[in-house]
Amino acid sequence: MGALNGILRPSLPPGERFGALAEFASPTELYHACEGVRDAGYTRWDAHAPFPVHGLDRAMGLKPSRLPWVVLVMAVGGALAGMGLQGWVATTAYPLVISGKPFFSWPAFVPITFELGVLGGAVGAVFGMFGMNQLPTLYHPLFGKPSFERASDDGFFISIESWDPRFDANRTVELLRRLGATQVELVAS
C-alpha cells in the first residue's frame, strides 16, 4: 500500500493550500510571465504548457538537465557488461577455439558490446527522465482544477506552491495578474 501511495501522490509538505494557478493566453505571454516569476525570486513554482515551448526553460531559470550523466553512466555500464559477459563466457565459462583465434578475441565482441551500450543508454534516458520528473505520480492537487485539463490541450499555466518562502496568497495572485494572467485561482492541497 505504501508503494502504491508513492505512485499516486507527490511528496508535498503538509498544508491546506497547494498554491496558486494562473492561466496565460499564449506561449509568448507565458514566456514573459515566467521571466517575471523568476525575477521575483520564487523557487517552488512551475509552468505548464501542452508542448515544449522553445526557450521557456531559460525564462524559468532552470539549470541544464543532468540526465546526460545518467545516460553516460548507463551506456558505459551496459557496454562494459556486454564485453564482460562475452569475455567471461569465451575465456572462463565456455572456452572454445574458433578458427585458431585467442579465447578473448575482442573484435568479434564489439557488435554486442555496442548494442548493450545503446540499450543501457536508452534505458537510462527513459527511466532517468521519469525518475528526475518523479513520474509516475498519478495524483496531483492541480488535477483538481477543471481548467487545468487544458494544460495538455491549449492552456498555458504557471503554478506557484504555497510552500515557497515568498508565497503570500494576496501578493502572489497580484503578481500573476500583473504579469498578464487571464485567470488566477487558488488550489487546495
Binding site: A25, S26, P27, T28, Y31, D46, A47, H48, A49, P50, F51, P52, V53, H54, G55, L56, D57, A59, M60, L62, S65, L67, P68, A75, L85, Q86, V89, A90, A93, Y94, I98, K101, S105, A108, F109, P111, I112, F114, E115, L116, V118, L119, G121, A122, A125, V126, M129, M132, N133, L135, P136, L138, Y139, H140, L142, A151, S152, D153, D154, F157
Partner: protein, 505 residues
C-alpha cells in the same frame, strides 16, 4: 465516409480554405513570415483544433471501414496461428525447404520485416537530429509501424529453428548443460541487435506517447480516463518535466540513429560473413541499410495514404509529406539499384569463377523471374518519382509503394534463395518451391502487422499532437516579436497573403 469528410473540415477555423484543402487539391503557397517556408500544417489551425483532429477518431465508435480492415487482418492473423501450430506439430518439413536451400521464406520474411521497421526509426530519430520538422506529422505512426514490424520479424527466427522449445538457447541464460551461446557468430549479434532494437523503439515510442496520452486523459471521462490516466503516468505538462523530457528525447534520437544503422548492418552480416558466393560481399551493410529505408518508406506511404483518408487528417499529413517521402524513396531506390549493379561489377572484377557464376545464374538462371521482378519494382518503378505529377498523386504513390514493397520482399528472396540453390556441388542443386504453409505464414505475418496497426489507430493518438503543435507558427515564444507580415504583401505568384486566423496571437 462523408461523415469523416465533414468533420475534417472542422480542423481549421478558416472555412473557405479548409474546404479547399480537405478536398486534397490545392496547396496554398503561403510562406512562413520567419523562415520563408510554406507551413507544414495546412489551414492554420489553432492548438485546440490539432487536439480535436487527433483525438476525435479515438472517441468515436469505430467506423465500418475500420471493422472491415480489422476483421480481414484478424483472419490473416488467425492463418498465422494455424500455420505456426501446424509447423510446430509437423516440423519444418511443411515448408518447401530442401537440402541446399535451408533458408527461404522464413529468413526472407525476417529481413523484410526488420527492414520495414527502419523507416520508422529514420523518421523518428535521424530526421529529428537533422531538424526536419515535417517528421512530426508522421513520426508516431511510423514508430508504431517499426514496433509492429519488429514483432513480425522476431517470429521468424523463433519458428525457423525446428525445435522451438529450445529457442531460449539463443539467449545467454545459465542452464543445466553449462552451455553458452557463441558470441563470435553474427547470428548471435543479430539476436542482440534486433531484440534491443525492438526494446529501444518501444521505449522511444512510449516516451513520445506520454504527453499525448495525458491529452486524451484530460478530454475523457470514466474508464477511459482511468486507463489513459495510468498510461500517462500522471503527466501534468510541467515545463520542469519537459526540460528533462526534451533532453531524453534528444538522447534517445542520438542513440537510435547508430542503433538502426547497426541493426541492418548486422542483419546483412548474417550473410556477408559466410563464404557463400552471392553473400560474401563487403557492400552488404550499406546496401541493406539503404534497402531497409527504401522499403520502410514505401510501407509508411502505403499506411499513411489509407490512414490519412480514413481519419480525415489531410491537413496534418499533407501532400508535402508524401512529396518528401517519394523523394527519399527515389534516392534510396537508386542506391539499391547502384548496389545491384556494383555486385555484378565486383563479381566480374573479383575474377572468382564461382562469384561470377552465382550472379549470372541470379539474373538468367531458374530464378530470373524473381530477379527481374525485383529490378523492375525497385529500380525502374521509383524512377517515376522524378515527375512532380506522380509525387502529388495519391493513386500513383500508393501503387508505387506497393510495387516497392513487393520488390523489396523479392530482393531478400533473391539474395537468399538464388545464392543457395546452386552451391559448389552441381549434384546437390535444387529448385526451391514454396508450399502452402510458406505462403500462409508470410500472409499471416502481414495479418499480425495490420491487426496491430488497426488496434493502434483505433486506441492511441496516431499523430504526435504535442510535437505537431510545436511546428505551428504561434508556438514560438517570440511569435509576436517576429516581424509581422504586412497585410498587403503578395506571394510570388501574385496572390495576396492572408493573415492566418489563429496565427501569432
Amino acid at each position: 465516409m462523408s461523415e469523416t469528410h465533414n468533420e475534417s473540415g472542422a480542423i481549421g477555423s478558416h472555412d473557405s480554405q479548409t474546404v479547399e484543402i480537405s478536398a486534397g487539391l490545392a496547396t496554398p503557397d503561403i510562406l512562413d513570415p520567419v523562415d520563408h517556408r510554406a507551413p507544414l500544417i495546412l489551414g492554420a489551425p489553432t492548438f485546440h483544433a490539432i487536439t480535436e483532429a487527433v483525438a476525435r477518431p479515438l472517441e468515436r465508435p469505430p467506423t465500418r471501414g475500420w471493422w472491415i480492415c480489422f476483421l480481414i487482418s484478424l483472419s490473416m492473423l488467425g492463418l498465422l496461428g494455424v500455420s505456426i501450430a501446424w509447423l510446430f506439430w509437423e516440423g519444418i518439413g511443411v515448408w518447401g525447404l530442401n537440402n541446399p536451400v535451408g533458408w527461404a521464406f522464413d529468413i526472407t520474411n525476417f529481413v523484410f520485416w526488420v527492414g520495414i521497421g527502419h523507416a520508422g526509426t529514420l523518421i523518428s530519430a535521424i530526421l529529428f537530429l537533422f531538424r526536419q520538422k515535417w517528421r512530426t506529422s508522421i513520426n508516431r505512426s511510423a514508430e508504431a509501424m517499426t514496433i509492429f514490424a519488429v514483432m513480425c520479424a522476431l517470429i521468424f527466427p523463433g519458428i525457423h529453428i525446428g525445435r522451438p522449445w529450445v529457442a531460449y538457447w539463443m539467449f545467454p541464460i545459465p542452464n543445466q548443460m553449462g552451455m553458452w551461446p557463441q558470441f563470435r557468430s553474427p547470428l548471435m549479434w543479430d539476436v542482440f541487435a534486433v531484440s534491443i532494437y525492438g526494446t529501444v523503439s518501444a521505449l522511444f515510442w512510449f516516451v513520445g506517447l506520454v504527453p499525448d496520452l495525458a491529452t486524451i486523459r484530460d478530454r475523457s471521462t470514466g474508464v477511459r480516463r482511468k486507463i489513459f490516466g495510468a498510461l500517462a503516468l500522471g503527466w501534468r505538462s510541467s515545463v520542469r518535466h519537459w526540460h528533462h523530457y526534451e533532453k531524453a528525447y534528444l538522447i534517445l534520437a542520438g542513440l537510435a540513429t547508430p542503433l538502426v544503422l547497426s541493426v541492418h548492418s548486422i542483419v546483412s552480416m548474417d550473410f556477408a560473413t559466410s563464404q557463400l558466393p552471392g553473400w560474401h560481399t563487403t557492400i552488404f551493410p550499406p546496401y541493406f541499410v539503404a534497402g531497409a529505408i527504401f522499403s520502410g518508406f514505401a510501407m509508411v506511404v502505403t499506411l499513411m495514404v489509407i490512414t490519412r483518408k480514413a481519419f480525415g487528417l489531410e491537413q496534418v499529413i499533407t501532400m508535402k509529406h508524401f512529396d518528401y517521402m517519394a523523394k527519399i524513396m527515389l534516392v534510396t531506390g537508386m542506391m539499391v539499384g547502384y548496389a545491384y549493379s556494383l555486385e555484378f561489377f565486383i563479381a566480374w572484377f573479383s575474377g572468382s569463377a564461382y562469384e561470377l557464376f552465382t550472379f549470372k545464374n541470379r539474373a538468367f538462371g531458374p530464378y530470373a523471374w524473381a530477379y527481374w521482378t525485383m529490378v523492375s519494382c525497385n529500380v525502374l518503378s521509383p524512377q517515376l518519382f522524378w515527375f512532380k505529377k506522380v509525387r502529388s498523386s495519391l493513386v500513383w504513390l500508393f501503387a508505387l509503394s506497393i510495387f516497392v514493397n513487393i520488390g523489396m520482399w523479392f530482393e531478400r528472396f533473391v539474395i537468399i534463395v538464388t545464392s543457395l540453390h546452386r552451391d559448389f556441388l552441381p549434384s546437390s542443386w535444387f529448385y526451391f518451391k514454396p508450399t502452402f504453409f510458406d505462403v500462409s505464414t508470410m500472409i499471416g505475418s502481414f495479418g499480425l502487422f495490420f491487426t496491430m496497426f488497426c488496434l493502434f489507430v483505433r486506441f492511441l493518438p496516431i499523430v504526435a499532437t504535442a510535437e505537431v503543435k510545436t511546428v505551428l507558427p504561434q508556438a514560438a515564444a517570440h511569435a509576436v516579436e517576429a516581424p509581422r507580415i504586412e497585410l498587403d504583401q503578395q506571394t510570388p505568384d501574385g496572390r495576396r497573403l492572408d493573415l492566418a486566423p489563429g496565427g501569432a496571437a
